[in-house]
Symmetry: none
């Protein structure tokens, strides 16, 4: 039986609440003998770790370093190799554009056209400020092509996202990108009959934008690639019969949560704001995804100490979650971002699950950390098993078979 079929069949509702706390990029590797998490003063995590099951979770598989998209799909119980989220969609989510099932998105570059040839695919990496100016200029003049609404959103430097909204749009198009210089504008080609309309809109967009941008050299044309529709993913309600909500301040994670059917709660930028949001909405949902971004940001910056501080800040607020007595609470990462590597890595995530019916450790005075988790009762496991583990611990999964 397929994983999703199993969940649909076995999941039941009850009054228990699940809280999944994701400290983005939590895992690290030792610097002077200790990781960020092992270095952080975390009296509350340590206290709860003693009464929890511990382990290490692999986001996608041993040795595979994940991006945020697939890492979160795994955490939400989905096979990240089954559902690939198109780059256009992720970019749109990343800059905070609301995307619906009627939309097709694409990643765009401003580029330089001279004598009808693309001579720079990045328009000399114009400033983000210049990008915003051009996007505003185009959005004012180019709002509809045939019956399709078009919208541009600025990214960094030469990058933007195009969102097309309309009936019968398709993402089965080839990239409108010559992928080299000294070549003419390349138009999108439909991969099937039903995509002809979308290809026509895309190519009209390129021509119209190019004619409007005459005075904006070096940003006087554009390339479009990674056409993507909103992926068709069954919601967490369909699979797990949960009523889920996301408490995340960064657009990409709000977007990823939205992809699996979570309600996106308004919240502020601090962990304190997020805890307040949790309390205010606690009665309305039975699953909460709380996303803390800064652990990852500081990891990417190589700022070991600042990452330690974010972990300590979360630790300070942990009792405020526990005061709500959630039926099941998990604290983990989506992937590791060791400050020593300044990047995502393949190392498995420290993982803690607290619930009523558990085999906890005999050890006292545990320090919550990667190497304590390695000795935990759960051992090494796959992150896709986290959600069923939470469901089980909340008695929300029936017995399989008689």
């Amino acid at each position: 039986m397929e994983r999703e079929e199993l969940y649909r069949k076995l999941s039941v509702t009850n009054e228990k609440k699940l809280v999944l706390v994701v400290l983005d990029g939590l895992g690290g590797i030792p610097v002077k003998g200790k990781t960020e998490l092992e270095t952080a003063q975390t009296p509350n995590l340590d206290f709860f770790a003693s009464g929890s099951e511990l382990g290490l979770s692999h986001p996608l598989g041993i040795g595979i370093t994940p991006g945020s998209g697939p890492a979160h799909l795994s955490l939400f119980g989905y096979d990240p190799f089954k559902y690939e989220i198109g780059r256009g969609i992720l970019e749109a989510l990343g800059v905070g554009i609301p995307v619906t099932k009627k939309d097709v998105t694409a990643r765009g570059n401003f580029a330089t056209l001279e004598n009808n040839l693309i001579v720079d695919r990045r328009a000399g990496r114009i400033s983000t400020e210049k990008n915003r100016e051009i996007v505003t200029f185009l959005n004012e003049r180019l709002q509809k092509i045939d019956d399709v609404d078009v919208r541009l959103c600025s990214g960094e430097e030469h990058r933007f996202v195009l969102v097309m909204t309309g009936e019968n749009l398709s993402d089965a198009l080839t990239d409108a990108d010559p992928e080299g210089i000294g070549l003419p504008i390349k138009y999108a080609m439909p991969k099937d009959d039903i995509s002809m309309k979308t290809a026509d809109v895309v190519n009209q967009f390129i021509d119209t934008a190019t004619s409007l941008l005459g005075d904006f050299h070096p940003a006087n044309t554009c390339l479009l690639r990674g056409f993507a529709k909103y992926p068709m993913i069954p919601s967490m309600t369909e699979l797990f019969k949960l009523k889920p909500a996301a408490i995340a301040s960064y657009p990409m994670y709000r977007g990823l949560a939205q992809l699996v059917g979570m309600d996106i709660l308004e919240t502020g930028k601090t962990i304190e704001d997020q805890i307040k949001t949790l309390k205010a909405n606690y009665s309305k949902y039975d699953f909460f995804f709380i996303h803390v971004k800064k652990t990852d940001s500081y990891g990417e910056d190589g700022n070991f100490d600042a990452k330690v501080k974010v972990i300590e800040e979360f630790d300070y607020w942990l009792p405020a979650i526990m005061e709500l007595f959630p039926g099941v609470m998990v604290v983990t990462g989506d992937h590791s971002t060791p400050a020593a590597m300044k990047s995502h890595s393949w190392h498995p995530n420290p993982f803690l699950i607290q619930a009523a019916f558990q085999r906890t450790s005999f050890k006292q005075n545990l320090k919550f950390g990667e190497r304590t988790c390695a000795e935990g009762i759960l051992g090494n496991f796959q992150a896709i098993d986290i959600l069923p583990m939470m469901m089980a611990n909340a008695l929300k999964l029936k017995k399989y078979g008689a």
Copy 2:
């Protein structure tokens, strides 16, 4: 996404070198309280173990005892249940016959024919010496059938390998073996139209050999089974973008390495010879498979002490590998061969990986051994994950998804 597709997509090259040391049949079970590895004095392995990630790797799956073929495919990153290496090929590799993609091989038995009935399928288990005499006799008289070259190679006792080389050969044949006694010679049948030529060559071979062997009773006919072509396995270069070389003195392991596209380096019979070969070729490749056979041989013999000695001999040479500063080094087995069992077993392999970006143990003064590895940060895992783990640790795998 399939495993191999993922590797093709994510693998990149860099200057880092990977060294995979396989002590064949390394793992054991305790005799008087300690395994062979736990008994061996291994100061160098112990020293490196303290700075490495440790675990136990299952060659094929829990409880599955592997042969050398599938165990090595796993170590090289391939699904051993996807690629089955025909017995004819393995036998040919085992006796050191070079096999190419134009060949079809088969395992053969000399057998006894009386009154047109097979009365002994093993020709009274003739001596290996007698076997060699017969094979030389046949090879001198029977070199070509139609346009196909045929060659026999002696195995032990009544066993031999037949290699046919020619155009349009196929291995879709039924066995030419009555599988019982008191039955007439059984001919190979083609399983499809394109196999008719090969079946015809095989059956002419049986008839001609039988007529030539008239005076060699009890070895006066032969049976052929396990027809096999060279398997179509993507090379390690295709999957992992590696330039791989094998340093192995035994033919079967050289053959297995050749199947996945490794260059086979000339080397001697001792570990010292193998280390010299490694040094001499170190600049030319970025992946080295070093195979030490005798741990397995002594395990199969039930010679606990001699197996201990081979482990100690390898330990003596380990610093010579480390002096090359490989980016990633793994020391493990392909499967366990406990001296107490005198056979391959299902017990997982002790495993050590040393690289730059690791979570090593807190523990000092580790003894490298099965039970230390069981407490290692990697836990129990599948051997097929070893190659991606090595690639990740060498930063040769890109991130999956954004």
